[in-house]
Symmetry: C2
């Protein structure tokens, strides 16, 4: 196949790097088309594992410099995996919901935290960054391959699919501090865009089913405006799932 720079409408994406490509081969081998190994790569235990994983699945492992010139011009990457984008829709479980996230590195970092805290289901409301962007895949450190995710065109469409989810939008309006909130499963932890946050009207949502909507804030000092989105999402997930004394799903 012809290697081209990643495009959002492409059927394929790439893992740049050895560890990430091994994680792809372990978790989602059925999606892998081929693997490129740079002629400059050193032999190593990881390289042996990579070749073994490719061999077991009959995945071609090709030596070629060309793919690296196109996909990793900085030259700090010696292994590339080419994989078909896959579908793994969110389930009737607890969710993280990102409304209009715009940064590929951030969504990757957030998926890494999700898997760290055992939250495997991510809903994304458009317009939004592409979580198959190789930058997102890389920042996820392979967490993407463990996630379930669905893109929605609006938050209303998301609520239609999960009418019984209790909604916890993270925002300042009419919010309670996070440690005073009891998160009732099935919950949705909802975060807005990096720069703009959530629109004010998220505090007023009343789910038709009688599920809850309760806005939440993470208390911070007055000397900064807000926490970084990746940090706020991680603290929310840590608080809800990570501490033994909090309510677990």
């Amino acid at each position: 196949m012809k290697i081209t720079r990643y495009k959002h409408n492409s059927d394929f994406s790439y893992t740049l790097g050895m560890t990430l490509t091994i994680e792809l081969l372990r978790c989602r081998p059925e999606t892998v088309i081929q693997v490129y190994i740079s002629p400059r790569a050193q032999e190593s235990e990881a390289m042996q594992e990579l070749r073994a994983l490719c061999g077991q699945r009959g995945i071609p492992a090709l030596e070629s410099e060309k793919a690296f010139n196109i996909l990793s011009p900085k030259g700090n990457c010696f292994v590339i995996g080419v994989f078909r984008k896959f579908s793994a829709p969110v389930r009737r479980d607890c969710h993280l919901v990102l409304v209009n996230p715009s940064d590929a590195g951030n969504i990757g970092n957030i998926m890494r935290s999700c898997i760290g805290f055992g939250i495997t289901d991510l809903a994304v409301v458009r317009p939004a960054v592409d979580l198959f962007d190789p930058k997102a895949v890389r920042a996820s450190m392979g967490a993407l391959f463990h996630m379930h995710f669905t893109y929605y065109d609006s938050f209303a469409a998301y609520m239609k699919d999960f009418p019984d989810h209790n909604l916890y939008p993270f925002m300042l309006r009419r919010s309670r501090p996070i440690h005073e909130v009891e998160f009732k499963a099935p919950w949705s932890l909802i975060f807005g865009n990096e720069a703009a946050g959530l629109p004010d009207d998220f505090a007023d949502i009343r789910p038709a089913s009688g599920a809850l909507c309760s806005s939440v804030l993470i208390p911070i000092s007055g000397n900064i405006d807000s926490l970084n989105l990746t940090i706020a999402a991680a603290i929310a997930m840590y608080e809800v799932t990570g501490r033994p004394q909090t309510v677990r799903r």
Copy 2:
């Protein structure tokens, strides 16, 4: 003065962007040499505040495209502040300690979390990224201007300055889960490099003064190797300072 791309040995650094430059003018006006305003900038309330702050302090606000071509070639920035690097050494307070951090965006993001959770004192062990790198300044969202910070050539040199600090290295070796640890002030929360973490021997440190050293981990699922450094540091700071029921300094 002549504008050149940022160098680590320069006496000056830059704030790229309106909000960041206003924060600089509010918090550290004595360090500001001059402000550049792009001829393409629109008038706005923020611009009026910027001009007023410059006026009050007699700081020149110059219209020039040239500085933007050099410092922000992508063209998404309309205000630049030029400021003298300043010194604000760590005090005998609780500390965050970063050993060999390597990424400018990360250290900026971590400073933003520090200020969010009221931790104002940061020690950095070399080799380490430069926290005056404009990328770090930008990612800090101005938190740098509220921080106290000192660079050390070794962790031993840090301990010599603060022999009575109780040390909490975040690592896997001989560690207890974070929610079981009682953090005793004055504490130092210690984190290693993004890729390598802390060297194993941090678990064996015995401060000469009789202060504690107790290694700590943030429990995560087996499907990822570790949390991102910025996430781990933020969760530690949240746990130690943010929750009402934890020990406060």
